[in-house]
Symmetry: C2
Subunit: 336 residues, 2 copies
């Protein structure tokens, strides 16, 4: 089990993809240079098909023994989160299973049950797939499809200096949930530990909010690598920097309780992945609208900082305490 | 290494998919009840997006030590073959890699080089993907996209009694190529063995022929499981049966040479998978047109039998010697 529990490539893999695979996407504008979590195909004048894919490997992205229904839902939701970040309406998905001999009919039934429930929740259906056997750990992947009008598609590249940085929901629950589920958090009451673990195991993709942010947000990403890493992707794609106020980061009551038990968990909450909330930028005059569509979508929207011009030196994303001290070591899961 | 070297599920997996996953495709007509190798999404009034996915696992679908460029090309081509069977024009693909630590930068470079060459040959580009690590054998999968006008889309379900059964190219080269590459064929000269192995390692998807068969073929499938199995899918989807003339099955010169060395290989050639030719049905008056578009596409088209009414008993696909004797044990890779 690696520390990394999110679904994006290792940092080393980013470099490899950039070197070897990115050139293969030349000539396909919707591939976005492989720099985004999703891409799009221009299928009709008035509709783009957003396509995203994520894989999960037993022992790398999930703990062995994970119930197949919950596992399948996480896999689907991780992909739905990528669709949400582009304001796409979920349509269908393809499922590829490489399963060891130990997968039983009961496991398959549970997997299907989990998917069926989420299909109803999020309004999509299974289009096809492949099922193969492997002598190694299970590898499950989903390629998910959504549609969006070209003018409504959100990308990472529209952030401008002066825009406010907002996030949906609360941050760090996924990262602390992994700690709670795997190692336990000494002194944390069982209900809080369970609430955090739930957020890790069964994240809520912000599908409705993403669609409502079209026309409001200037750039958007989902939080799979952690706030600093994913906002860093927005900054890189937009050619800007960001300054965040640590005190404004929204923490859930269970996360605050966990940090009270172990103050070192604060940095982990701020930098960990697996929240699958949305981080987005908004021109100042539209922050009220962003908060309003959050309410309509049943999720809080919190302004946590602002976009600044890139200065070409130093990290793109900095996070400051109220006294001006900069937090360090928050650059994503690899330091967790 | 299992005997099975094709990319379709194990027979047991067919039953599992039918039981557990097929209900998840309800309500999505383009999923075709998960009975086809590909499905489609209705994106525009005049265009369908054909979607197919295939995975390959080291030690199951390919031999360890397979060069990454050839491996990547086979993976892409297996998917292109599914697009061909639906008469779709290739557009883009998504690549998911679960790789063990042993994959080097040189392996990645070779993989990308193989893909780049095939992208040029077949006219598609990389849209996105995911790259993750695994402690087990490599699992590589591609989801490929093509487009087709709704009226041109070929499926497995249009075969009618009286239609002729045709195949492209020659049969059995893939299955005999696996034997030649893995075990050797005693007495077969090196050039013939090499030609067969090439056909196994680097099949030629009939992308152009598939498109030209739109409006000519009544049903179509690609040969990944073997002739009897894949034609059996057409029969099942169309509610018909088929009778094939063994003497008419087109064999390449290297395949004939291999069978001369070991007559038991004839049955293997007739039943093996991995040819990635097209098997299709054609009303009698259009057989000439089918042969002509084969010529235009640079591949032979051979009439090998005819479609009959389903009689509800016995196998859907039978193959007869000139004296009327029926060949048995040809029902696909599981008996190879």
């Amino acid at each position: 089990m690696q520390e990394k529990a999110s679904n994006s490539p290792k940092r080393g893999e980013f470099a490899r993809i950039d070197t070897y695979l990115r050139p293969l996407a030349d000539g396909l504008p919707g591939a976005l240079g492989l720099a985004d979590d999703a891409g799009w195909l221009d299928i009709a004048a008035d509709r783009r098909l957003v396509v995203t894919t994520d894989a999960m490997v037993e022992g790398v992205h999930y703990l062995p023994g994970e119930p197949p229904d919950r596992l399948a839902q996480k896999l689907l939701r991780v992909n739905l989160s990528d669709l949400a970040a582009m304001a796409a309406v979920p349509l269908a998905y393809v499922l590829t299973l490489a399963l060891p001999a130990g997968w039983s009919d009961a496991d398959m039934a549970a997997l299907a049950q989990g998917l069926e429930a989420d299909q109803r929740t999020y309004g999509l259906a299974l289009l096809g797939g492949d099922s193969v056997s492997t002598a190694g750990p299970a590898v499950l992947s989903v390629t998910a499809f959504g549609t969006v009008a070209p003018a409504r598609l959100l990308t990472r590249s529209g952030a401008a200096p002066g825009d406010r940085v907002c996030v949906s929901g609360t941050l760090g629950d996924g990262a602390l949930g992994l700690v709670a589920a795997r190692d336990g958090i000494a002194g944390l009451d069982a209900a809080a530990a369970d609430a955090l673990a739930q957020r890790y195991h069964r994240p809520t993709p912000r599908v409705e909010l993403g669609q409502r942010l079209a026309g409001i947000a200037s750039a958007c990403a989902d939080l799979s690598d952690g706030l600093v890493g994913d906002l860093g992707h927005i900054c890189a794609a937009s050619g800007v920097a960001a300054r965040l106020a640590a005190a404004r980061l929204p923490l859930s009551a269970p996360a605050r309780a966990a940090i009270a038990c172990d103050p070192a968990l604060r940095a982990r909450a701020f930098s960990g992945g697996d929240d699958y909330e949305l981080v987005f930028t908004v021109p100042p005059e539209r922050v009220t609208a962003a908060t309003a569509v959050g309410r309509l979508s049943g999720v809080g929207v919190t302004e946590i900082g602002e976009i600044r011009p890139a200065d070409g030196a130093g990290p793109a994303v900095i996070m400051a305490e109220p006294d001006g001290t900069l937090l360090t070591g928050l650059s994503g899961w690899q330091h967790v």
